[in-house]
Structures are given as structure tokens and as C-alpha cells.
Subunit: 193 residues, 2 copies
């Protein structure tokens, strides 16, 4: 078996999600995941540090997409513009082909308190990274942190809406509408409502 | 030695912070903390589950103060009113007598990446609890989560300002000004700035 396995990462992810659903997250081993995917353990470890990374590895990519888009935004872009750019950049991770994986991933996390904490922590890190990227372009620190929280909430709300099994709309469209909606809600909170 | 030790919790906290500063967080043991405070290890464990709780135990109390204030707010209170009530309720934890502990606590956390993650996670949990308390009073889910993020950011910013060694202003006053300031910034972000 050669080192190159077509779609190995995707196959491992699908195998892991199926096994987590069948036997629970804790009872599933890396050996079982590799076996179900028809791959070796060493192939697994070329793609993921451990089985938890099957669920959360995508968030590191997301952080790079978000911060990269903020860095690349034109100098005249406002913090709100940067959030829109960041969400648009994230869309590459949420293609129609990956749509069926999202509710399965969410079900595994929802059933496991340690994984829920991991998800909270990953989102907090995402917010910290976005705040830093905004601050690096000259946004005042407190505004940068507020914008980052708004951005992460817009992302997590968009992701949940996109992941809904009945959803047919592309991520970009959902994210754009969600960000606008959150801006309206923020204006209302700001007015004391 | 009787079971009742006057100010035991405070003495243990001060001893722990002194030892963390002198020898580092990892190198400090519970036995050393108890010894420095002139108390026993079993007295330590009546107040804290472990040495990490010396740094983070206060956050559980804070969560209760925040959610309690949101629950107790009058039915006509808006989400923004609830945030103001929550921050005002938290002030009991930030008295002038405890002011000198805050920068020492922050220095220990800032020097240790695992503790920084713990702080991020505790804040994310605080936001989740506030969102739930707002949602329970009828605030729509997404607005509740946005308000909770604003509230936690107002809290963490206020705490950092209050903890500044040069600060003389009481927490309540700082928190009120910080929340208003964040509302202005939120309005500006909402307007696309």
C-alpha cells in the first residue's frame, strides 16, 4: 500500500463519524477508524494527531482562513467589512459535499460534555485570533475583541443553520444574512433594548 | 487546631499567589500553600478542590451572581438592562480589600498557557450560562447569545481595568462606564464601521 491514499482524510472522517455514532466516541479506537476506512493506523496519524482531531482539526484551518482574510482585507476595510470577508473565506470549508458530515459531527459533540468544552475552547481561541488580526491592522483593542465575538457568533450561528439537514442554501449566503441579522440585533442591544 | 480558621480562604489564596510568583505555578504544591498560610492541607481542601481552583474558584461564584441577577431582574427589563444588573451584582466579588490580589492572579495566568486556556474556557462557560439565563426569561436565542458575549466582554474589560495597580475607582463605576462604552462600539460595528 503506497503512502498516497486518495481522499484518505475524507474517508477517515466518514469512518470515524460512523463509528462514533454506532459505538460512542469513547469506545471508538483509532485502529477501528483506520480499519473501517480501509487504511492503516499510520495513514490515520498522517492526517490527525488523535481521534479528537477528526472532530476539531477543521477549526485550525478555519482559524487560518479567518485571520488570512482579515489580514488580506484592503486597508480601508472597516472591522465590519473584515468580518464579512472572514466569513466569506470560511465558505471553502463548507461545501455541499461536506454537508452531510456536519450534523453527524454536531451530534457526537452534543452527546459528550468534554467535547462540548473543547468546542467552546476552540471558539474562544478563534475569537482571540480574530481579535488579534483586527488589532494588528489598527483596530482599537476593545473594538477588535467585540468585533471578533460578533464574528465568531455569526460563524457558529451560520454553521448551525447551514448544517441543518433540511438546509439547501450555500454557506456564503447564510453567513451574509446571519452577519447582517446580528448587526441589527447588536444595534438594538446598543440602544438599550 | 480547630476546624474553624478565621479568613482561611483568604490566607490560602494570598499564600498561593505568593508561592506561584516565587516558584512558578507548576512547582508549587498544596502542602507548601497550606504551610505558608499556617494551615493544614485538609483545611486547604475544605476550600479548594485543587491548586488551580485558587485561581478559578471565584468564577463559579461569579456565574451564580451573573445568572442570579438576570433571573431576578424585573420582567420589563431588556437584555441590556439585565447585563447592567449582572455586572452590578458582580461588584461584591471585587472589593478594595481584594484589589491587590487581582494583578498577581493575572500575572500567574499570563505566564502559563494551560491556565490561559482555562481562563478562556471559564469565560466561554460564563457566556453560555448568561445566554441561558437570558433565554429563560424569553430573550430570543441568538440575541441572548449576543448579549451574553457583550456582557462577558464588558466584564473582562472591567475586571482588567479595575485590577490595574494604579486604579482607584470602584468596580461598579468602571463596569457601568465599560458597558456603555461597549454599547457605543457595538452600535458603530452594527452600522458597518
Amino acid at each position: 500500500m503506497g503512502r498516497w491514499e486518495p481522499n484518505a482524510r475524507d474517508r477517515l472522517e466518514r469512518a470515524a463519524l460512523a463509528l462514533f455514532a454506532e459505538h460512542g466516541y469513547d469506545a471508538t479506537t483509532v485502529a477501528q477508524i483506520a480499519d473501517r476506512a480501509g487504511l492503516t493506523k499510520s495513514t490515520f496519524f498522517r492526517h490527525f494527531a488523535d481521534k479528537r482531531e477528526v472532530l476539531f482539526g477543521g477549526q485550525d484551518m478555519l482559524m487560518e482562513l479567518f485571520t488570512g482574510a482579515i489580514q488580506a482585507a484592503p486597508p480601508t476595510a472597516t472591522p465590519a467589512d473584515c468580518l464579512a470577508e472572514a466569513l466569506a473565506a470560511a465558505a471553502v470549508a463548507f461545501t455541499p459535499e461536506r454537508h452531510d458530515l456536519a450534523p453527524r459531527r454536531q451530534a457526537v459533540i452534543a452527546a459528550h460534555s468534554e467535547l462540548q468544552e473543547r468546542e467552546l475552547l476552540k471558539r474562544a481561541r478563534l475569537a482571540a485570533a480574530m481579535a488579534e488580526a483586527l488589532h494588528a491592522r489598527g483596530t482599537e483593542d476593545v473594538t477588535a475583541r467585540l468585533a471578533a465575538q460578533l464574528g465568531v457568533l455569526a460563524f457558529s450561528t451560520s454553521y448551525a443553520r447551514w448544517a441543518d439537514p433540511g438546509n439547501q442554501r450555500p454557506f456564503t449566503e447564510i453567513a451574509r444574512a446571519t452577519l447582517s441579522d446580528l448587526q441589527v440585533r447588536a444595534a438594538s442591544l446598543a440602544a438599550g433594548a
